[in-house]
């Protein structure tokens, strides 16, 4: 496939601006996740690329082919874009069996029936459903239906595979396996893909690059590691992972570092946005980075253990320290002893 370029796409639905000028590029063979909460515009963006929704302005091009351009008025209908789309609901046609579902796109392309036969069985083999050709969708499990939906979308070698919340209809256990499987099949096919999801784990696991959307804008863009480990905005920091948040006042700024203080605590962390002394700010730290220790030290606050929840592989502790509530992950059962909460300064982000 050629490079997909989306520039300045804008869409309004009534009084609601769903997309406020989104631009990004997708390189050959790359998998991009459009991640965001509901209402962020991610599905609308995907549908605009597929040709099912039409933006009010902007430009979408695939290589030399302009799919949509509000200036020239170009608008390629969905059926001529040669893309594959996996629906959240799978949208398998209940009146067709697996073979006919997968073969549909091939038949539309007037491919001879022997070739159709061959390519459907290749697609079914790739997704591990050989021998299921004659089954109807309602005779398949949720996981199998999802695989058929993917086979149907890739059977005619589309230029680009679009996935709309592909795992959200699976139960939790199956989703974990499907995540790995999906990444594996995308790599195997060497296809470019865009995956819309509200599940950060899904985005991190599947994508080479994550676009974090919020209120119709791209909030941050980067590799999964960058997005998780180096959020640029407080939204990005809060959206990913599980966090402790501390609101206070900036009391000192030292280059890239700053000190933030509350009524009875004072901590040092990395300054993520411009702040001056005396300004209100929020400190964010991932739960798994928050530590406990037995003795006071640098960047520590005395905490009182309020509750401890057993979660099998680990414990979740809930501490109270003055007006702060802090969660910590631990491996051991709680003990009757004074705790000190340690916030490593390289992991404490000040917004």
């Amino acid at each position: 496939m050629d490079r997909l370029s989306v520039s300045n796409v804008y869409k309004r639905l009534g009084a609601n601006e769903v997309l406020k000028g989104v631009s990004f590029e997708l390189r050959r063979g790359e998998v991009v996740a459009l991640l965001g909460p509901s209402g962020s515009g991610k599905t609308t963006l995907l549908r605009a690329i597929a040709g099912l929704d039409h933006p009010d302005s902007g430009r979408i091009a695939l290589g030399n082919q302009v799919l949509f351009d509000s200036e020239s008025g170009a608008q390629v209908p969905a059926e001529q874009r040669n893309l594959g789309l996996v629906f959240q609901s799978y949208a398998l046609w209940p009146h067709r069996n697996v073979f006919d579902n997968v073969a549909y796109g091939l038949r539309l392309r007037k491919i001879p029936s022997a070739e159709v036969q061959k390519r459907v069985s290749i697609a079914l083999r790739q997704i591990g459903l050989e021998g299921m050709e004659e089954r109807y969708p309602h005779q398949l499990s949720g996981g199998q239906q999802q695989r058929v939906a993917i086979a149907r979308a890739i059977a005619y070698n589309p230029q680009l595979l679009l996935l709309d919340e592909p795992l959200s209809n699976l139960d939790a256990k199956l989703r974990e396996e499907a995540r790995l499987w999906l990444r594996e099949i995308i790599e195997q096919l060497q296809i470019s893909a865009i995956c819309v999801t509200h599940d950060q784990i899904e985005a991190l696991a599947i994508a080479d690059r994550v676009l974090l959307l919020e209120k119709g804008r791209i909030e941050q863009e980067g590799t999964p590691q960058e997005i998780y480990q180096d959020p640029r905005t407080i939204f990005a920091a809060e959206f990913m992972g599980s966090n402790n948040e501390l609101s206070g006042t900036v009391v000192d700024v030292k280059g890239a570092m700053a000190e933030i203080a509350g009524p009875d605590w004072r901590l040092c962390g990395q300054l993520k946005v411009d702040h001056h002394t005396g300004e209100k700010a929020t400190a964010v730290i991932r739960i798994e980075r928050t530590q406990t220790s037995d003795a006071p030290g640098e960047n520590t606050v005395a905490g009182k253990l309020d509750a401890a929840v057993y979660l099998g592989e680990r414990w979740d502790y809930l501490f109270r320290a003055g007006d702060l509530k802090v969660r910590v992950r631990a491996t051991a059962a709680p003990a009757q002893k004074p705790y000190w909460l340690h916030f490593p300064k390289e992991s404490l982000w000040i917004f």
Partner: protein, 557 residues
């Protein structure tokens, strides 16, 4: 508890006698050798031998079958496509068109047929104007082909009705999946949307085929001049065939019609369940995202408008034009003959004035009474865990197998046969009872769709706080279906105004209604008065429809 049970049993008994008595009397009369009121009447199969050996009967049967098949072949494909265009695509003006395409259902077929005759008949308005412009008018409304085409076009709304409600429930994602895979709009329709609603299409095909056997107004007016008889018009003509009342022969024809209708009604009942089941298999995401037709938008709209012009505008404009001219024929200019005389003339005949008032009364008050009766049946049957409930279910389906003409005849006999009822024969009560029974199945569908809106939780909540079943019905269920009942009343109003065949045999001094007056006046050739009455009929229906749309009543019940 006991009161509720008594009420339910009473409802079953009254409904059973209203439904089974006319059916029974037709069956009984068919095996007699003379009218049942003659003391000499004996059991015999002679009437059957007479009718079944009559070549006219065979011709009528063959014509009916041909018309039913032909109109099904026309109405089903076009109706399905119409439903797809209006429900699933971005056809311009589809919101406005949706109620408009249902109009032919509420127009009386005699009015429509009359409209076709005066608009496009041998000396119709458009025929003469066309001749003037092009020298010839190469069509004949009195041919079998015309009858089939007109019947087919005017029955498209029935197909639309059922196919559209199935299409509405179809997930948009299933069509979008086809779109992305490379299918254009037409391809999506034929390979995904319409196959997905196949059970609904099949149901509507059986329905239209069934309605083909019931046709009366269209063949009466369009078929007669060309000597075309169908079963219902054959039955109608039998009345004065032998000079003496040939009730036994009429009963045999009625039995023949019923014998064809019943299996079709049963088939419909089986199919309607399946049509609802199939759709729920579809994808989710009910947000109505219309399929883009792009370049096909305007040609598709043109197609819909052409159909509307042919089935609504053409006949109605004929009726209205004819009602406002004193005479019409070759060489007459419209401007010279325009008059209001036809309407003034209506008032010269007391029976016509009575007919209009009777129609209004039977539609307004009779309609309300009928809805009340349907509601009593519906409520009796509501959450009734009993075998009787099933009996009631089947009972209300029975009249579906009796076309209006047959039911009207049967009720005439009921009022002659059952002595205590005879004084009521020449009152509007007889017409009302016949109407209410003929439309029982239709009315019950309206009531049960209103009752379906009431969540069982709401009623169970009433029971758990200590109300009896009867109290829950009166204090929870009825208030909740109030709006549904008003909507049903408006729909029944329109249906009762439109009705024409049921009153034909009951027509007499005191029981005149516009529909049956048109039928009987048509035979006398009083075209001016028929046109004026037809306009009155259309305006009454339009008033009901305007009111219903204003209140937001869904015309599909």
């Amino acid at each position: 508890m006991r009161g509720l049970r008594l009420y339910r049993v009473l409802v079953v008994l009254i409904t059973a006698s209203a439904v089974l008595l006319p059916l029974g009397i037709v069956l009984y009369q068919s095996v007699l050798d003379a009218p049942f009121f003659q003391p000499s009447a004996k059991l015999s199969t002679s009437a059957f031998s007479f009718v079944f050996s009559d070549p006219d009967f065979h011709r009528a049967f063959a014509t009916t079958a041909l018309v039913a098949v032909g109109m099904t072949l026309i109405a089903v494909p076009l109706g399905s496509i119409l439903a797809f265009l209006l429900i699933r695509t971005d056809l311009p003006g589809r919101r406005v068109l949706e109620p408009v395409v249902l109009i032919p259902i509420f127009l009386s077929p005699v009015v429509l047929a009359f409209g076709y005759v005066v608009a496009a008949g041998p000396v119709g308005f458009f025929t003469l104007w066309f001749k003037e412009a092009f020298g010839l008018a190469p069509w004949n409304v009195y041919s079998l082909a015309s009858l089939i085409v007109i019947a087919g076009l005017t029955h498209i709304p029935y197909v639309f009705l059922y196919t559209s409600s199935a299409l509405r429930a179809l997930g948009a994602d299933l069509e979008e999946a086809a779109r992305v895979a490379g299918a254009g709009a037409a391809r999506v329709a034929f390979s995904v949307s319409l196959p997905m609603v196949r059970p609904a299409i099949l149901y509507s095909a059986v329905l239209v085929f069934f309605l083909g056997f019931e046709l009366f107004g269209l063949p009466l007016i369009l078929g007669d001049p060309g000597g075309l008889l169908v079963l219902s018009t054959y039955l109608y003509k039998l009345t004065n065939r032998l000079g003496v009342p040939s009730y036994q022969l009429m009963a045999v024809v009625a039995v023949a019609i019923i014998a064809i209708a019943f299996p079709l009604v049963y088939l419909q009942r089986r199919l309607i369940g399946a049509s609802a089941r199939f759709v729920t298999v579809g994808g989710k995401g009910l947000s109505p995202r219309p399929l883009r037709l792009s370049g096909w938008r305007w040609p598709a709209l043109a197609l819909v408008l052409v159909w509307l012009a042919a089935t609504v505008l053409l006949p109605l404009s004929g009726v209205f034009l004819r009602a406002f001219v004193s005479s019409w024929g070759e060489g007459i200019r419209l401007a010279q003959v325009i008059t209001l005389e036809n309407f003034r003339e209506l008032f010269d005949y007391p029976n016509l004035v009575r007919g209009i008032l009777n129609t209004l009364g039977i539609a307004t008050f009779g309609g309300a009474l009928a809805v009340a009766w349907y509601a009593l049946i519906g409520l009796a049957n509501h959450r009734w865990q009993s075998g009787w409930s099933r009996v009631l279910d089947y009972l209300v389906m029975v009249p579906r197998g009796m076309p209006g003409l047959v039911a009207g005849l049967a009720f005439l006999w009921v009022f002659l046969f059952v002595r205590p009822l005879s004084p009521l024969r020449s009152t509007l009560f007889s017409v009302w009872l016949a109407y209410s029974v003929v439309w029982l199945a239709y009315g019950m569908r309206l009531i049960s769709s209103a009752l379906l809106q009431v969540s069982p939780d709401l009623e169970e909540a009433g029971l758990t706080v200590g109300a009896s079943r009867g109290q829950v019905l009166r204090q929870v269920t009825i208030p909740l279906i109030r709006f549904g009942l008003i909507g049903s009343w408006l729909l029944v109003f329109m249906i009762f105004v439109r009705e024409y065949s049921t009153g034909v045999y009951l027509l007499g001094p005191g029981t005149e209604v516009v529909g049956s007056l048109i039928v009987s006046l048509w035979a006398t050739g009083a075209i001016d008065i028929v046109a004026a009455l037809a306009v009155v009929n259309v305006l009454l229906v339009a008033a009901g429809m305007g009111f219903a749309l204003r209140l937001g009543v869904r015309l599909h019940g």
